[in-house]
């Protein structure tokens, strides 16, 4: 700390200054006791006959039961999607298609509070984030792609855009509704129909989305939602009636899907894991950078594929950055996801909590120094204290493996070249952050970092116009922007050259 900051007394907030609880009312959400599958425009009982509970991870309380879609159920959903694609959806004019998507965007805006509460209930994320990030971005995504539906021929010069057919989409549990929007909006704008599987632990916002489709009067079968675990996802990947697979999730599962599709000629896009470097230069605005570090790794409990999980600090500012960071960590409020003052919500599942716990133990065993601010954890639910590891070697598991939790590994560097080398020293390549006041350095670093998204003096920022996706083992294909249309189109050339 500087002398000035010491004089200003940056001691932790006095313990007597407790915030009064500010919970968002949960009665805006009405849940069924048990959900079927959304196929052909209506909820149907699963042929599998199986259901499983879905919970609130902050209370370990059951919210509802959802269906475990089996092979036959996936088949019915694919048939419904195929039928809708061939009889109706492809006859609707692109301008009308656009209007359905605009309607969906508007309804999401109108019902945003309801969705935000449900998202926090079922996923454990702070209501502040569901309300200010997930919902506005979901609506914006539909609004953006709506406008593309009748302008596709302007997007790719010299090519004839045609829909692919039925898209199978498998999404993760970290941003359930937002990932649904990233998948469904471009797919429908391009004229496809969809079979979507939400994540096993967070199916409820996708099931509520079915009600948005009813209100928007989307023709039946254009969007079908099948719930279930990985087995359901595998049935989607294997199904011969699906023309394109879009998957967001772990690199391990992504590789398995790529192997499964080998030789089938099906189109595939993969948005997989990351181990992003967040690089702080000595000329950065440090307080702003510290906020960026916190946002980079503790946003959504670190359940973010592009999380800034490796902090690279220039050696000359290592001490003040770490001191400021530790100070800031003490002010983070962990607890009830529905409380509007909560910064860190619940870990999404027991399974994820176990994985984080195991990797943190590995970090301590390998010799890294652990820091966790004093923090009371609620008695029930899945929680993990925001954690910083210093003295981390590049070879440690916590510097190599994606933890997908609120755990930061700190490394240092001296020169920009060393920062680039360390940042790129991973099989992943999804994102990176650069903090400096020098514009030319931002662009030079941006050129050298092998990652699909580079944030300068910001982090974890998203926009429907901005393409997102990875290099190397972080996957291929882009979501968002003009480039996000390409995976959902057949793009033959108008008149191919050279024979």
């Amino acid at each position: 700390l500087t002398d000035l900051e010491r004089r200003q007394d940056r001691a932790p907030v006095p313990s007597g200054w407790d915030y009064a609880p500010a919970p968002e009312a949960r009665d805006i959400v009405t849940l069924e006791e048990r959900y079927g599958l959304y196929v052909g425009g209506e909820f149907v009982e699963p042929r599998s006959g199986e259901h499983f509970p879905t919970i609130d991870p902050s209370r370990e309380e059951q919210l509802a039961e959802v269906a475990q879609a089996g092979k036959e159920d996936v088949d019915l959903a694919v048939r419904a999607a195929r039928d809708a694609f061939e009889n109706g959806w492809s006859d609707i004019s692109p301008a009308e298609r656009a209007k359905y998507l605009f309607r969906i965007a508007r309804i999401l805006q109108e019902r945003s509070r309801e969705f935000a509460v449900l998202e926090s209930l079922n996923g454990g994320k702070p209501i502040r984030e569901s309300r200010d990030v997930d919902l506005p971005l979901s609506a914006a995504h539909f609004f953006y792609y709506a406008g593309w539906a009748d302008k596709l021929e302007y997007a790719f010069p010299h090519r004839r855009p045609e829909p692919i057919g039925v898209a199978g989409q498998i999404i993760p549990w970290n941003f359930p509704l937002l990932m649904l929007s990233w998948k469904i909006a471009p797919a429908l704008a391009a004229g496809n129909t969809v079979v979507l599987k939400p994540a096993e632990t967070t199916p409820l916002s996708a099931l509520l989305f079915a009600d948005v489709l009813r209100q928007a009067e989307l023709p039946p079968g254009v969007v079908n939602i099948v719930t279930g675990d990985g087995r359901t996802g595998a049935e989607i990947v294997k199904h011969e009636g699906i023309d394109k697979i879009a998957f967001t999730g772990s690199t391990e599962v992504g590789k398995a899907i790529q192997r499964e599709l080998a030789g089938t000629g099906k189109k595939l896009t993969l948005e997989l894991g990351g181990k992003a470097a967040n690089i702080i230069f000595d000329d950065a605005a440090l307080d702003q950078a510290v906020e960026g570090i916190v946002n980079g790794i503790y946003f959504n409990q670190g359940h973010v594929c592009c999380a800034g999980s490796r902090l690279l600090v220039q050696e000359s500012i290592y001490e003040p950055v770490i001191e400021k960071l530790k100070h800031r960590l003490k002010t983070l409020r962990l607890g009830d996801p529905l409380d509007k003052n909560t910064d860190i919500g619940a870990i999404n599942s027991k399974q994820q909590l176990d994985k984080i716990t195991e990797l943190v133990a590995a970090g301590e065993e390998e010799g890294a120094e652990i820091y966790q601010p004093p923090c009371r954890l609620p008695e029930k639910g899945y929680w993990f204290v925001p954690t910083v590891f210093t003295n981390v070697a590049q070879s440690y598991r916590i510097a190599q493996e994606e933890i997908f939790g609120p755990v930061l590994s700190v490394l240092t560097f001296r020169t920009p070249d060393e920062a680039v080398e360390k940042a790129n020293n991973t099989p992943y390549g999804l994102s990176a952050g650069v903090w400096t006041e020098k514009g030319s350095r931002i662009l030079s670093m941006a050129q050298k970092l092998k990652a699909g998204v580079i944030w300068a003096n910001t982090y974890n920022r998203f926009d429907p116009t901005s393409p997102f996706g990875g290099y190397k083992e972080s996957g291929f294909g882009r979501e968002g922007g003009l480039h996000g249309l390409e995976p959902y189109l057949q793009l033959d050339e108008s008149e191919a050259r050279g024979g």
């Binding site: 192997r259 080998a262 941006a446 699909g452 997102f468 480039h483 050339e493 050259r497």
Partner: protein, 265 residues
């Protein structure tokens, strides 16, 4: 007395040099002994290609375009030899013209394939295409010259480096091409060409962890198996066709990078 012609030894092209296979093996094709590359040669070629990525992708687009254009110049000078090793004059002229066509794309594709994105926040947000890195190319078996040129040109114009498995039955045009490339001011290692038994080499190329993308257009064997091997490090798998000439063929081997640059005073 008629003069006895001096015949050429056909060797591999790796790192800008023309080594024999480290295995000492050859096979006979088109009436010549041709080097039969080994797995070790393949690994050496990938290493050479990786080593050349920085220099080649770091050159200006204008420079890369001129190098590609110079390949066309070098081929024009050897057109008679190329005609003998391929289906004839027409194939050679097509191949030369294709280099010229792609040379012209070097400083243009970024303008066609990139974008600036109007985000709802104070950032200048733009998307630029960048090379994916090292690309493995299974050149089509035929045509002997047109095939390899059609698949190689879009790979390297984008700043990638390449390890090419040449046509097995008609490899001589590929080695002749290597000689044209070697005299075109192309940095060593950008293009590496291996001759040999494709079935022996292609699985190792497909499974190599330091290869970023794989063009399986010329694969004749077990395509599903090659694609499965490619999944090991999430390779971009491209089903290239020799009859395609398009900037979107360049795009197949490019990554898209999006940058959020702050706006403020």
């Amino acid at each position: 007395m008629t003069r006895l012609p001096v015949k050429k030894t056909y060797k591999l092209f790796v790192g800008g040099e023309f080594p024999r296979s480290e295995s000492g093996r050859t096979y006979e094709a088109q009436g010549q002994n041709v080097a039969r590359a080994s797995r070790k040669d393949l690994r050496d070629a990938v290493r050479a290609a990786r080593g050349a990525v920085g220099k080649w992708s770091g050159m200006t687009a204008y420079n890369r375009g001129q190098v590609l254009y110079r390949i066309a110049e070098m081929m024009e000078a050897r057109a008679a030899e190329f005609a003998e090793l391929s289906s004839g004059r027409a194939e050679v002229e097509d191949a030369i013209d294709r280099w010229v066509w792609y040379a012209g794309w070097a400083d243009k594709y970024a303008q066609v394939l990139g974008s600036s994105n109007p985000v709802a926040a104070p950032y200048f947000n733009f998307t630029v295409p960048e090379p994916t890195g090292v690309v493995g190319v299974l050149a089509p078996e035929a045509p002997p010259l047109g095939g390899i040129v059609a698949r190689l040109a879009p790979v390297i114009v984008g700043g990638n480096t390449a390890v090419v498995l040449a046509s097995e039955s008609a490899p001589l045009a590929s080695i002749e091409l290597a000689e044209a490339i070697a005299t075109a001011d192309m940095p060593g290692g950008v293009v590496n060409i291996l001759t040999g038994h494709r079935s022996e080499l292609s699985p190792w190329l497909a499974g190599h962890m330091d290869v970023n993308a794989l063009d399986v257009g010329g694969a004749d064997g077990d395509l599903p198996e090659l694609e499965r091997l490619a999944a090991e490090n999430v390779k971009r798998v491209v089903h290239g066709r020799a009859d395609r000439q398009s900037p979107y063929e360049i795009a197949n081997f490019l990554e898209l990078k999006t940058v959020w640059h702050p706006i403020g005073v």
